[in-house]
């Protein structure tokens, strides 16, 4: 489970890469690729093990100040939970 205190790193099998054709970031892993929207790409880029989930929410809330904070918080948690279930991020609590 992911908590606000979790520090996440990208799993060894996953790689973030800019798709030069579409301009979107893609999260690549064996036999698959996940196309990321701008927020999702920001979140993945912050999965370096340095930041807690709370800090990631903080950063995104600052960057997307026009959006309600609760919506951003929900988006970050939902997305990271989904990545965690697919073992694309690892938790280091």
């Amino acid at each position: 489970m992911i908590s606000l205190e979790s520090r996440l790193t990208l799993a060894g099998k996953a790689r973030l890469r800019l798709d030069r054709k579409s301009g979107h970031y893609m999260l690549l892993y064996p036999e698959k690729g996940m196309r990321l929207n701008a927020t999702a790409a920001d979140i993945v880029q912050l999965c370096t093990g340095e930041h807690t989930v709370a800090e990631i929410i903080e950063r995104l809330a600052a960057k997307y100040a026009a959006q309600p904070r609760t919506a951003i918080e929900k988006e970050v948690l939902t997305f990271l939970e989904a990545l965690s279930e697919r073992m694309l991020v690892c938790t280091e609590t």
């Binding site: 799993a11 060894g12 099998k13 790689r15 890469r17 798709d19 030069r20 054709k21 579409s22 893609m26 690549l28 892993y29 064996p30 036999e31 690729g33 965690s84 279930e85 697919r86 073992m87």
Partner: protein, 377 residues
């Protein structure tokens, strides 16, 4: 970006399957290489493969499966991994694990290899080696351990069929013991050598249902620890697979002799002329070769595909299966229950149910491969 016109977004490949050689130390009875594989020599030089990687990336490819045959038999595998890394391509080594040393695996890792997929034929040496036609099992386990020791992600792939489906729980346990990140339980696709061995390999519906349930329970239990894929054989699916995600849509295969293909066996289909990467650019072939365009989109589709709700989901199924079972590559995949040729699938299922003993296995070997491909039943 290439100098030519931009590639339409709906028409860009994501994955290059680099079939570096058809040579392989194993003789697996389900091998998906063409029966005449020995006719397709390793004709591409290192420089050719490096160019294939660069041209693929320019076309939009982001993942490369280094495959075969046994890709480790190419001495220039290191050079290819290094170039793929430079191009930021995700590299997946699809291997039997033989021949490999720990030192070479470490070199490949240091050069940027992203994932290693090792095939495991079954859970005991006796059965696994019978399926592979060679002593290999213990060595494979060693290779799988090295993968994890070196910190590389490990995928185990077991091709399922009548001879090992009953061991699905043990296969999962083995994958857990080896700390695999991912387990592919992929039922045999009955093409190539697997079609020659179909009467020995095709399971019954009951066998399949039990294995599927075991995989489903294991998937729930191991959620977040090991990813488990269970690929149903289309002989029991009623609707065909979206073979290769559609012809010439997402996948680009290059054969050891340099043919650019939309699927592993497209060069077994009659009436199509395949172009060679030594003679034309990948972009030219991908976009403009008549063979690549033969089954793209929906214009080629016969009924019942043409008016089917699922045509944009399954793309009419597999062209190779259509040809090898009906003699017509443009037919609806007979795996579809709506196909007028679906009877051949039902007959194969009935035969499987009635069978008490395993017929002799036909091992993948070069001496047999000069024989013409088998066509309609």
């Amino acid at each position: 970006m290439s100098a030519g016109a931009p590639i339409p977004a709906e028409l860009r490949p994501y994955t290059l399957v680099a079939e570096l050689t058809y040579r392989c130390p194993l003789h697996c009875v389900y091998c998906s290489n063409p029966l005449d594989y020995a006719r397709h020599r390793d004709a591409l030089t290192t420089a050719d493969w490096l160019r294939v990687l660069r041209e693929s990336e320019q076309l939009g490819v982001m993942q490369v499966n280094l495959s075969g045959g046994e890709p480790l038999l190419r001495k220039d595998l290191e050079a290819l991994v290094a170039e793929a890394e430079r191009l930021e391509l995700y590299t997946n080594l699809i291997t039997s694990g033989i021949p490999l040393t720990r030192e070479r695996l470490r070199r490949l890792k240091d050069l940027g290899l992203d994932n290693v997929q090792v095939s495991i034929q079954d859970v005991t040496a006796e059965s696994a080696d019978r399926i592979a036609g060679r002593r290999a099992f213990e060595r494979k386990l060693q290779v799988a351990r090295w993968v994890k020791e070196l910190g590389l992600p490990l995928t185990l792939n077991t091709v399922l069929h009548r001879l090992n489906l009953e061991h699905t729980a043990e296969i999962v346990a083995l994958a857990e013991a080896l700390q695999a990140d991912r387990l592919e339980l992929a039922n045999t696709q009955y093409l190539g050598w697997a079609l020659s061995n179909r009467s020995a390999l095709l399971p019954s519906a009951e066998q399949l249902a039990r294995a599927r349930e075991i995989a489903a329970v294991a998937r729930r239990r191991l959620k977040g620890r090991m990813e488990i894929l269970f690929v149903t054989p289309d002989y029991y699916a009623e609707r065909p697979k979206a073979c290769m995600d559609g012809w010439g849509r997402r996948f680009l295969i290059v054969s050891p002799d340099g043919l650019a293909l939309p699927c592993h066996l497209a060069h077994t289909l009659p009436g199509l002329t395949w172009e060679n990467v030594r003679e034309r650019s990948l972009e030219q072939i991908w976009l403009h070769s008549p063979a690549f365009n033969a089954y793209r989109g929906e214009d080629w589709m016969p009924e019942p595909c043409r008016s089917c709700d699922r045509r944009s989901l399954d793309f009419g199924g597999c062209r190779c299966q259509a040809y090898h079972l009906t003699g017509n590559a443009a037919a609806t995949d007979p795996a579809c229950a709506l196909s007028s040729a679906h009877g051949v699938i039902e007959a194969a299922r009935r035969e499987s149910l009635a069978r008490a003993t395993t017929p002799p296995l036909i091992y993948r070997r070069a001496r047999l491969s000069a024989l013409p491909e088998r066509s309609a039943e």
